[in-house]
Amino acid sequence: MSLELRGITKTFGSFTANDSIDLKVETGQIHAILGENGAGKSTLMNIVYGLLKADSGEILIDGKVVDISNPSDALNVGIGMVHQHFMLIPVFTVAENIMLGHEKSSKLRVLDLDQARAAIRAISEDFGLQVDPDAIVETLPVGIQQKVEIIKALIYEAKVLILDEPTAVLTPQETDELLNTMRDLKNKGTSIIFITHKLREVRAVADQITIIRRGKVVAAVSPETSEGELASMMVGRAVDLSPEKYQHEMGGAILEVKNLTVRDALGAAIVKGVNFHVNAGEVLAVAGVQGNGQSELARALINLEDHIEGSILLDGEEIRGASIKDSLHAGIAFIPESRELDGVIGSFSIAENLILDLHELSPYSKGINLSAKVMQSEAEKRVAEFDIRTQSILDAVSTLSGGNKQKVVIARELSRPIKVLVASQPTRGLDVGSIEFVHERILAERDAGRGVILFSTELDEVIALADRIAVMYRGEILGIVDSKVTREELGLLMAGVTSAKVGAE
């Protein structure tokens, strides 16, 4: 089945999200739509899926104009969508989730789960998507949950599948698996619209690439196009994808972690007695598949976790057991993993967010009196220095894009005297331009003699920025390696294979 969009235009007030977009997805092809956050990709897909109504333009299926005004219309004409944030009920089983909204029951109004199970098994076999129908969704890894979403679309006979940023939440292995699944689906005749801003993935699977910038189609290219070219078309200017790791001065150990164990509320160790140190003027990356204790380790460094054992020495001073405030003020800047939840307060203004951990300090306050004047004048400086794109510093942070929210967090954390920067997944979900910015700031901190600990699941980022790489697996640091390591070696470490075993093979 082919899907064609002709002249789709959608405006929100004076803002044009989609400007007469033309697009054709051929039968059995993977069509990638590439664009920065806010380029209009999601708006376009929401129109195709019936969640939004276009101001003008038409949607054609196999050459015939169709009217899609809600998601069930979309399902009826064979369009399925896997959203970036899964639409699953965590406490339900896979089968229950999949039959949701299409429940079949016997005469006694008993749900017919057997039929759902059988249908799931059939789809699983046809498309090679192995999922246990009776597993509870919340117990499944993210990659499998995504398969459940894909099965959900396929079971209602979707012939065109929209995948909205599907790899944003996946580990490298899961990503590879998803790309394989996409190829299988394509070979079975399913057309796929693949929305992403990750260049490597696009080049790996796409048959056609359409690049959208500021609501307009700027180019339709083939996957042979180089990453650099794709990036510059997406951003609209030349982009430096791998920052130079030029020679830089390195000092002595600024942060030492000894025998650090982090336990959850039930007493189970999530981080198991790790040891490492970071030198001044060095980037130490902590790599690993998500969920191997990196998040907890990062949080433990500023005492955000409740049960921490061992020792954290910042410039020789023990800070384990200090309050969060004291840990921060001792000289650690912290960029949390989730901007929205931990980094910013959405309903607060930009100016207010910029003093979240500074409001008790001079010049922002005297005694308990908060100075709005100082807060605002300092905010103006940060906005200029960190290039935060906003109309006014009094706008709520929730109105900003992801990249600008992250800039607010970074501006705040770097505007007090620090010795160490702890950055947890600092570029997750950001567009190319913002990623570039974040990388520049991280390297600038390194060059200024700070120790940087970068927690990241993105291998490219780890290899590009780190001086040394620590790999975490099941709560332990399996090894700390030089940054000249290859992707393959890193991948093996991340899968729990230590170098001794690598050598033996």
Binding site: I345, N369, L370, A372
Partner: protein, 389 residues
Amino acid sequence: MKNTISRIGQSIKLPGLSFLMAFTITGIIIAVSDEKVMNKIGSPIEFLKSAGASVGNAYLALFQGSIYDNRLAKSNFFEGFYPFFETLVTATPLILTGLSVALAFKSGLFNIGAQGQFIFGAIGASYVGFRFELPVGIHILAAALAGIVLAAIWGGLVGFLKAKTGAHEVILTIMLNYIAAFFILWLLKTKTFLRPGRIDPIAPEVADSAKLPLLAGENFRIHAGIFIALAAALFVWWLLTKTTIGYKFRAVGANSQAARTAGISVPFVITSTMMICGALAGLGGAVHVLGSEHALNTDVAGSFGFDAITVALLGRAQPLGTVFAALLFGALHTGGRMMQSNTGVPLDIVVVTQGLIVLFIAAPMFVRYIFRLKKLNASTSLTSKGWNG
């Protein structure tokens, strides 16, 4: 300046429209429940006339009972304002309990416990008021302070338990309300509190030196408490917008996780918020006893603590909004009595109106639909916090 006006316009649009709709529906109920009106259902014109008269009379009585009644202005114009002063007397404790609930909202807490805190404020003020003899001024201060401290402890207990154990403040405050309500029943039977020579539960009257000064002479009940309430509103506004403490409160209220990550102590915020909330509601109890009741009785709290929730919601948890909402509720309460005695429309209809106002405020989408509004600036986060908030 133009921005400020349009912002204020935006923020009163929802309460204003809710108010309008609530009165419309109340009007329909008044008309329909009036037999004289319903008897004329056969002829539409007569029916409408009669319905108009019935509703008009009821609302006129409501106005006369709460704002101005020219029939009372016998010797001079001023006397006609008697109902308005009564409205202020009723609104005074309501402003304070309303502020207590509103401040808690700002910190992301749902304080259902203003009732219990009010009771302890009243107990403290009453005891110091009748037990000691102190100079004027100082006596008032001491009595009010006793009420504030007792209630701050009572409220702070909730914050402390939540901060230490994670117990939900809604459950805690509801339970503590029961304890407070029964505590005062018991207390008024003890020798210390029972007025000598009485068997019904009432405490001795507070000394004259502890009574709040009357503002308009002996004939009116209006007392200085209204200024205390307004000063408290100003204090809450100052605390929230001008201090680091208020900044912490708002930060935790808006996103406690981000606030914690930035080093703000959430237990401190929860405990201190609940203490200040308790102090505000307790001041309400103290002012009520020292200003208009003068003697502690079992029903001293009325429904001030519960109406406070509605008042804070209607005032959108803003100090100024809370003051206006409390004035409105005070007017409805006092005016409702006149409506009942003059037109036979039951006082309960006022409760219906209050309920409707809150219903519409809690359902902004509905108001928006009715009035075909494109944008309605509604702070739904106030009411949709849920149990894990």
